[in-house]
């Protein structure tokens, strides 16, 4: 896959017009992490009702891969059961590890990120938002699991 395909429209679209990029005051689940390699930062906030993600937002700054991945993530897990979101996070990591050939049925827009697999140093950029989501959702049920390092 040529590089231009990585930056295909869908990634640039999410990068330039990120979805669900805002604060979520009083959110039950929050977590912030950065990628020490590049300084990219992603914070995820979510509320869960009856085991289902009722609302999820992100904030942060960084490269097109990290920011578009976060934007697409919020779209793909919004309204889904927590277990399903965590399963998708695991599958996304498998896709980034090159273990799973992604399908659009499973991944939707996220398929656009599969070209990143060829650039190992940037896989961390793509996976960051998902790590933060998982940490936010599984962080011991505390009101805040914010962490920065």
């Amino acid at each position: 896959m040529a590089l231009d395909e990585i930056y295909k429209e869908v990634i640039l679209d999410h990068y330039k017009s990120p979805r669900n990029k805002r604060e979520l005051p009083g959110a039950a689940h929050t977590c912030t992490r950065n990628n020490p390699l590049c300084g990219d930062e992603i914070g995820v906030s979510a509320n869960v009702v009856d085991g289902r993600i009722s609302e999820v937002t992100f904030q942060g700054a960084g490269c097109s891969i990290s920011q578009s991945s976060a934007s697409m993530m919020t779209e793909s897990v919004n309204g889904t059961p927590v277990e399903e979101a965590l399963g998708l996070a695991a599958d996304f990591r498998s896709m980034m590890a090159g273990e799973v050939e992604p399908t659009e049925e499973r991944f939707g827009d996220l398929v656009a990120l599969k070209g990143v697999v060829q650039y190992p140093i940037r896989i961390k950029c793509a996976v960051l938002a998902w790590d933060v989501l998982q940490e936010a959702l599984t962080g011991g049920g505390e009101a805040s699991t914010a962490q920065s390092h």
Partner: protein, 412 residues
């Protein structure tokens, strides 16, 4: 020949890696501040050591062992002289700058520092000249103080430099040239002011040694740390030059073979300086390779090298700014060495470096192990183009052309 006295075309012929192509495009390597390439003279010197002279240095009492020891110690003398130290015993071999600074922080500073003592650093330092001091401060109760930075990438210095220091200042640790901004610091003036309160001056020479003439004593350095791999030498070569007095005061931090004089059941006595700091088998072939690198640089002349770096830096700053990039660091190349940090329009450095990589243009993107610099200028990262003796203005043209392509991808 370019205008500075270096025959770059002829130099390039000595660097085999520069003939490589990526995706049908010639390698444009603008990341020499991270590590430089190696001329065939260095590669052959290291290989010849293994082919013809290999034995463990300081051990074998046979002709081959003597040859290995001789080659290693000849390298010590040549490298020390290149940096202005006529006494080879002032050079402790290390894997590079990081290990050298850690030796000073652990072996010299820790036994001497206590609560209330001050270590003065600058916000321009590479993490390798910050973290060892943080560790020393934590272990001893000493306090860290930082010299800040001006908007244009210089140290923010008071009119009277002695105002930076107090009676409690024990260490000034400062980089001669910033890896993140390219800034050339007034080390001698800072050292004089630090010495007036009795502080010891530790100079990070990782970026300066490859591109400027160095005389450690003229610089006022009590300790001078440098990396061979950034100055045409092999990885794991480099060292620490100290004054004899400070080295005699320094405790060894790694115990083992060859660093001792005598070993008893409960204690040992130390070998002489510098051998007491060189436990275990050293990087013999690598330091021999570094001696060849130093010979290569000496043949070019470090004044000519510096002039070449200044010319490329001037050209790069002008072209990048004309292309719409924000350049960090000083405008004048009298205080700006061969590294240019920038942000191109709204393209994140990670994205930029990857797109440039498709054109075989290699730049660094990230925080450059200088997060205090990034924080000072409110950016998580920058793109950095850095130069060596084999770079040309044509390569900077290729960089700027590749930037335009990245701008098209991101439509900025």
């Amino acid at each position: 020949m370019d205008g500075t006295g270096l025959d770059v075309e002829r130099i390039r012929a000595d660097f085999p890696i520069l003939t490589r192509m990526f995706g049908g495009k010639p390698l444009v390597y603008l990341d020499s501040a991270a590590t430089s390439h190696k001329p065939v003279q260095v590669i052959e010197a290291e290989a010849d050591f293994y082919r013809l002279h290999n034995a463990n240095a300081h051990r074998g009492i046979y002709a081959l062992g003597e040859e290995a020891t001789q080659a290693f110690e000849d390298a010590r003398g040549a490298i020390a002289r290149f940096l202005g130290a006529s006494d080879p015993a002032r050079l402790v071999f290390t894997r590079g700058t990081t290990e050298a600074i850690n030796l000073v922080a652990l072996g010299w500073a820790r036994p001497r520092l206590g609560p209330g003592d001050e270590i003065v650093l600058t916000e321009m330092e590479h993490h390798s000249n910050i973290v060892p001091w943080q560790m020393a401060a934590k272990a001893t109760g000493a306090t860290l103080r930082y010299v800040g930075l001006t908007e244009d990438g210089m140290l923010d210095l008071p009119p009277d430099l002695s105002d930076l220091f107090t009676e409690r200042t024990k260490v000034l640790a400062v980089t001669a040239i910033s890896n993140a901004l390219g800034t050339i610091n007034p080390v001698r003036a800072l050292a004089d002011a630090a010495h007036s309160v009795g502080a010891v001056v530790v100079v990070d020479g990782a970026q300066a040694a490859p591109q400027t003439p160095i005389d450690v004593d003229a610089l006022g350095a009590d300790f001078f740390a440098f990396s061979g791999h950034k100055m045409l030498g092999p990885t794991a070569s480099g060292g620490l030059i100290g004054t004899r007095e400070r080295l005699e005061e320094t405790e060894p931090v790694i115990g083992g073979g060859d660093m001792i004089r005598e070993v008893f059941h409960d204690h040992s006595t130390w070998n002489d300086v510098p051998f007491r700091f060189e436990a275990g088998t050293m990087q013999v072939a690598q330091q021999v390779g570094l001696a060849a690198a130093v010979a290569y640089l000496e043949a070019l002349g470090m004044d000519a090298v510096r002039a070449h770096e200044a010319e490329l830096t001037r050209y790069a700053i002008d072209r990048l700014e004309a292309a719409g990039a924000r350049v960090f660091g000083p405008e004048s190349t009298t205080v700006h060495g061969g590294a240019v940090s920038f942000w191109y329009r709204d393209v994140h450095p990670h994205d930029l470096a990857q797109i440039l990589g498709e054109d075989a243009v290699c730049i660094r993107a990230g925080h450059h192990c200088a997060q205090l610099v990034m924080r000072r200028y409110g950016t998580p990262a920058t793109s950095r183009a850095s130069f060596s003796i084999y770079n040309t203005v044509e390569e900077i043209d290729l960089l700027v052309e590749a930037l335009a392509r990245a701008g098209e991808v991101f439509a900025v």
